[in-house]
């Protein structure tokens, strides 16, 4: 900052380099427009609050990160693109999706992850609807590897026909060809809604320890035959369930829950020793381990497909391995044709399902694209009107110095725009409506710095200094005040940013940003510019339009030119008042 007094030209060059640098950065990143918030372009923001279901109250940051990843993949599965899932605070997840107004999104995102282990009662190949590009995993789990070479191995993926295999039985017709449970071919419509078909008449559920004895009713089996993977089904813990796998090429009739997801302690992807294939290792807690041993013992005695169990997350079977023997000790290994990616994904999904987190939809904010455009327009109009008013006032009051105000505000505007664009492309800062308001309010803060400076120069001239000296001495005093004012403003912006919730954070952010830019502009532009202007005849000589003319300042002549001391005329106003 010391350079500001001596070499105005040099300081201006520093600023020019800074501006050029920012513009180059924009050119390099190829973005010329700021990233707009959803309130300016339309879209949906959903705020989820996580609560710990174990009742300890605190939410583990790692769990929250994992939950974020899973919710991201849920949103991605909608294929909406450009969606963003972030965590906020210590227990919130914020989902933003542009230009999507679907109620489906809210349902999908807000739903609590439910991971359950269920026995497979029937399994059936179906025609996948269409190859979806967003399918998270390739049909890598279709091949079977016998778990013979691993003593700890308990479960392995069953053989499934890959979705594109032509020999897969076409089962679009409802008359089911259940693998080994011939279903009644009666095409009677189920008398109860699909997902209620398997609820026994008395509505009683089946507890986990009786789950293996569960038998579907006939109505239930009929309903299963008609079930397609497009149908939404309620996942009720102690009832049977219809579910499909992720590729939607196999559907299952599942028994009630054997083991709850929270009985799963952890799941890790890895390559066992002396092996080359990826597996997913499961570890249950003691309760879950006992239940798992019991279940695998019984299941392994049964025949295909009833020797399989399904791991169901959010009503979708993410894995349905078959069991060859009882697995004691609470440890199991799922092997299959995994890649590193698919194994890690499965492990993550399992971990997520085991998370002791419940999510609550706290806030949904949904702005149509039309309204967004209107808000953007209003923000821009407010900005332009505000700028014009301030510039107009400065010209009226400071005359020629108004040019300095316009130029400085112009530089500040360029810097602000560049920063907002670059922050958008680098750290994903999205400019929202309160953010625009912050920038507009900052016009006043920035212009106020000039007022402080100009008034100080005038004071110095009044006290008998030449204009060139006044610019320098006035600057030394104004500098302090400007820094104090900006510190106050920056501090409040910081505190507001920390304390604010949701979109109003944008206001605090841009207010802080523009305050910093104000400091840069005043030090690197306004001050050197004034030094240079004081050397010109128009300003330094006190032209009557310069804003620094003697009459304007109330002195008879500019000090340093003719008379040394300003002579103040007798006050006419007062004596009149007294008379």
């Amino acid at each position: 900052m010391a350079t500001t007094t001596g070499h105005p030209g040099r300081t201006l060059i520093v600023l020019a380099v800074l501006v050029a640098g920012l513009i180059t950065l924009m050119a390099v990143s190829g973005t010329w427009t700021p990233k707009l918030g959803l309130d300016l372009r339309g879209g949906t923001t959903i705020t989820l609050t996580a609560t710990n279901t174990t009742g300890t109250g605190t939410v583990d940051p790692n769990s929250l990160q994992l939950a974020k990843t899973i919710i991201q993949s849920r949103v991605d599965s909608l294929g909406v693109g450009e969606s963003e899932v972030t965590t906020a605070g210590d227990n919130q997840i914020i989902v933003t999706v542009p230009n999507v107004q679907q109620d489906e999104l809210v349902r999908l995102v807000g739903q609590t992850a439910v991971l359950r282990f269920r026995a497979v009662y029937a399994a059936e190949q179906v025609q996948p609807p269409e190859p979806t590009p967003t399918a998270t995993s390739e049909p890598t789990q279709s091949a079977t590897t016998a778990p013979s070479d691993e003593p700890t191995a308990g479960a392995s993926e069953t053989a499934q026909a890959p979705s594109d295999e032509p020999s897969a039985p076409a089962s679009t017709e409802p008359s089911g060809t259940g693998n080994n449970k011939p279903l009644p071919a009666l095409p009677t419509a189920p008398p109860v809604p699909l997902d209620k078909a398997c609820v026994p008449a008395d509505g009683q559920g089946t507890p986990p320890d009786k789950a293996l004895e569960w038998q579907p009713t006939e109505a239930c089996q009929t309903a299963f035959a008609e079930f397609t993977c497009e149908t939404q089904v309620n996942d009720v813990a102690d009832q049977g369930l219809f579910a499909c796998n992720q590729e939607k090429n196999e559907k299952y009739l599942l028994g009630p829950t054997l083991i709850e997801g929270n009985q799963l302690a952890t799941a890790v992807a890895g390559i066992p020793q002396n092996n080359v294939n990826w597996v997913v290792n499961l570890e249950f807690n003691s309760e879950g381990g006992a239940a798992f041993e019991q279940a695998t013992r019984e299941i392994s005695q049964k025949t295909e497909p009833q020797n399989r169990f399904a791991i169901v997350l959010d009503g979708v079977s993410i894995s349905a391995p078959s069991v060859n023997e009882a697995i004691p000790g609470g440890r199991a290994e799922i092997s299959g044709n995994f890649t590193q990616k698919s194994a890690t994904e499965l492990a993550n999904v399992l971990k997520y399902g085991a998370l002791p987190l419940a999510f609550d939809v706290s806030e949904v904010s949904n702005v149509s694209a039309t309204l967004g455009g209107e808000q953007l327009r209003a923000g821009i109009i407010a900005g332009i009107v505000g700028l014009m008013l301030v510039i107009g006032y400065c010209f009226w009051y400071y005359r020629g110095l108004g040019i300095v105000v316009v130029a400085s505000l112009g530089i500040a505007a360029i810097l602000t725009y560049a920063c907002v664009v670059l922050l958008g492309s680098s750290v994903g800062f999205a400019l929202n409506l309160p953010g625009i308001a912050g920038i507009i309010v900052a016009i006043g803060i920035t212009a106020d710095s000039f007022v402080i400076f100009f008034e100080r120069i005038r004071d110095e001239v009044r006290e008998g200094r030449s204009l060139r000296t006044a610019v320098e001495t006035g600057w030394r005093r104004a500098r302090q005040t400007i820094l104090i004012a900006d510190t106050v403003s920056l501090l409040s912006a910081l505190v507001l940013f920390v304390l604010a919730i949701g979109s109003v954070k944008g206001f605090a952010f841009t207010l802080g940003l523009t305050t910093l830019i104000d400091v840069v502009v005043v030090f690197l532009f306004t001050k050197p510019l004034m030094t240079l202007l004081a050397r010109t005849k128009f300003f330094g000589g006190g032209h009557r339009l310069s804003g620094l003319d003697p009459e304007h300042l109330g002195v008879q002549a500019l000090p340093g030119s003719r008379s040394r001391r300003p002579v103040v005329p007798r006050p006419a106003v007062l004596s009149e008042e007294r008379a």
């Binding site: 609050t49 109620d103 809210v106 349902r107 505000g386 008013l389 309010v441 505190v495 304390l499 006050p571």
Partner: protein, 414 residues
């Protein structure tokens, strides 16, 4: 040439000045009345908190507003199949939007139904109905956070004030001005019935910063003017403070005008173009707070400060010294100006008083000795009277001074 600039100069030198401190009762009363109105409306009407704090749903749909819009929308809501919508508030924004505010709804079950009902009513696709939904417990959390924010911010501002002024009385005066501004702003909200949203709250907190800054500007100048006050007999504390206010008056006006102009633009865009939303909420709070902040720093904070300072024994002594010196000076002056008619010097003051109308030239300096001598004779005179005397004598004295009495800044302490 703008008049304001030349006025600015004369205010700076003390050539013209408004007696802010002498007239402080007037402004205290004005503020007291305003705050009383604010309090009454706050108690009587309360604040209208937005759904962000209480939880609820807010739907907006574009439509051509006519006389039946609200009623037919109400009916459509009744038929939407969602229960308990009787309490829903249906309103129109401008002439092209209808707004429905309801209790908080289930996001997956009830929201789609209400959206469909509204969309059907105005003849658009349900996806075009914009809405925001705040869960009830979330609203509670937001309220809690807002209160924490307010408390933390107030504490921090008090801390900053304490550190910056390092003077209990200055801090107290600044804090009172701050509370004054916040009260007035909240009062306006209660009185007019504007909805309080998180954006309003942010605006309110921003005001605290602004108000503080305004006060800093004035108090800085006061500090500058009273730096060497104890060793001189030129002015009392009140006079020095009053001069400071006059000196920064133009700057305060400029700062406020320039700060308020963009806010006016925001208010315009928020209220006229959009009708509702964060722009209006923010701008309104800022507007009221900024104007009030400029007012309070000049009319409330500085007089309060002067009043508190004058109670200090030091300052009382100073005021007495200043009065004594003035009395002496005016005696001399009176004697010099009316040499013929005053035979004895000891009666000079009385003579000067009786000569009040005789010489035009002496008129401005007449009043002070008269009252000052009276004050000197009766030490127990109420403060307010001596105040007025001092300030007037200062004002009149300024008229005679050809030069600003304060030293050039370069000669003061660096």
């Amino acid at each position: 040439m703008s008049k304001l600039a030349t006025i600015g100069h004369r205010l700076y030198t003390g050539e013209i000045s408004y007696d802010f401190i002498g007239h402080r009762r007037r402004w205290y009363i004005l503020s007291a009345i305003l705050i009383a109105i604010a309090l009454i409306s706050l108690i009587w009407r309360g604040l209208d908190f937005g759904i962000e704090f209480s939880g609820g749903a807010d739907f907006k749909a574009p439509t051509q507003v006519n006389a039946q819009t609200v009623d037919s929308m109400r009916e459509a809501l009744g038929n939407s199949g969602v229960s308990d919508l009787d309490e829903a508030i249906v309103s129109t924004i401008g002439d092209n939007q209808v707004r429905v505010q309801t209790r908080t709804l289930d996001p997956t079950e009830e929201v789609p139904k209400v959206r469909a009902a509204i969309a059907n009513e105005v003849g658009i696709n349900p996806d075009q109905v914009a809405y925001s939904l705040i869960g009830a417990s979330w609203g509670g959390q937001i309220t809690e956070r807002a209160l924490i924010a307010l408390a933390v911010f107030l504490a921090l501002v008090a801390l900053v004030i304490g550190i910056y002024f390092r003077d209990a009385k200055m801090s107290a005066a600044a804090l009172i001005a701050l509370v004054h501004d916040v009260m007035l702003t909240i009062g306006i909200y209660a009185l007019v019935g504007f909805t309080v949203t998180p954006a309003t709250l942010i605006g309110l907190l921003t005001i605290l910063g602004y108000s503080l800054y305004d006060t800093v500007v004035v108090f800085d100048k006061v500090r500058e003017n009273v730096r060497d006050i104890r060793s001189s007999t030129t002015r009392t504390y009140s006079e020095a403070a009053n001069l400071a206010v006059n000196q920064v008056l133009v700057r305060s006006i400029n700062t406020t005008v320039i700060g308020v102009l963009p806010v006016v633009a925001l208010l315009f865009a928020g209220a006229v173009i959009l009708g509702e939303g964060p722009l209006k909420d923010l701008a309104l709070a800022l507007f009221v707070g900024m104007v009030s902040g400029a007012y309070s720093s000049i009319f409330i904070a500085t007089p309060l400060l002067a009043q508190m300072k004058e109670r200090e024994p030091d300052m009382k002594k100073l005021a007495a010294r200043v009065r004594a010196r003035r009395a002496k000076e005016s005696q001399k002056e009176g004697a010099a100006e009316t040499p013929g008619s005053a035979p004895t010097a000891q009666l000079a003051a009385d003579v000067a008083a009786s000569d009040a109308g005789a010489t035009d030239d002496a008129e401005p300096s007449n009043a002070p000795p008269e009252k000052a001598s009276a004050a000197a004779g009766n030490g127990a005179k109420p403060m307010t009277v001596t105040y007025k005397t001092d300030v007037r004598s200062h004002r009149d004295g300024a008229a005679k001074r050809p030069q600003p009495q304060n030293k050039p800044r370069s000669q003061r302490k660096k």
